[in-house]
Symmetry: C2
Amino acid sequence: MTEKPFQDYYPDHMAQCYGCGRLNEHGYQIKSVWDKDKPGESVAYFTPQAHHTAIPGYVYGGLLASLIDCHGTGTAAAAAYRAAGRPMDSEPALRFLTGSLHVEYLKPTPLGPTLEIRGRVKEIKGRKIVIEEWILADGVITVRGEVVAVQVPDRLVRELLESVGK
Amino acid sequence: MTEKPFQDYYPDHMAQCYGCGRLNEHGYQIKSVWDKDKPGESVAYFTPQAHHTAIPGYVYGGLLASLIDCHGTGTAAAAAYRAAGRPMDSEPALRFLTGSLHVEYLKPTPLGPTLEIRGRVKEIKGRKIVIEEWILADGVITVRGEVVAVQVPDRLVRELLESVGK
């Protein structure tokens, strides 16, 4: 049985994200799961398209930042449920938004191979979960990143949506 | 006379970028200029599309990171030419790639208004130029960011291109 990705547990109003929303048909639809072979590590795979270029032949840094972002918030949500010993579809919902994002471009990332985005919890402090991440192309780490994901009460998410008439 | 944007000075092999390349028809084509009314500040404007969403009604963080990225490297290049007292189309070429990127999401950025991306030089240290930036929506700062842009000799850029057959 294939494990259900973290992002596929998101309710509809959290599933429109350009990076990871299963309902955004124009977006990247990143899918993250726990790596069964490496306890504590999450993994996602993504194959950039030809136009996702920086200089020709190399992946655009903004896309790499996006992968770090959405794999990070997904991993944070999954980690929060896991820390609470609860399945991801249980209530009350644990929602996370990106508080900050840091990306180090260690070397140019070749455009072509499927990228492997990996993450693990670095720290849990109150409502914030820090996820450290790295991206591999052909088995070589080209990017390191960190996301501070902030837990947002579902009530606040709904207030945000109402404030823009959604 | 309208000022020519920094990115429109990039040679063809630096103009394919998904974020700011004038030759990438699928990309964002960000255009940055010095703000004549605020000395030392660069500015770019960008209107996200409907699918560039985080939660409905708000702009996707990965796009905001991309705007910080490309406005930052553009500002770094322009600042380097300015520091050398040279026009941007003069030789030898000054090329910059992103070394690291940091983004703080201060509050959700509403989806709809044209965003204003502003930047200025924070520090020049050797081949690295640190650009601090901020993004405004309806006049309110929603994002702060920082890019460390690294000057790369054109010879190295060409070696990278040759290594992937471009």
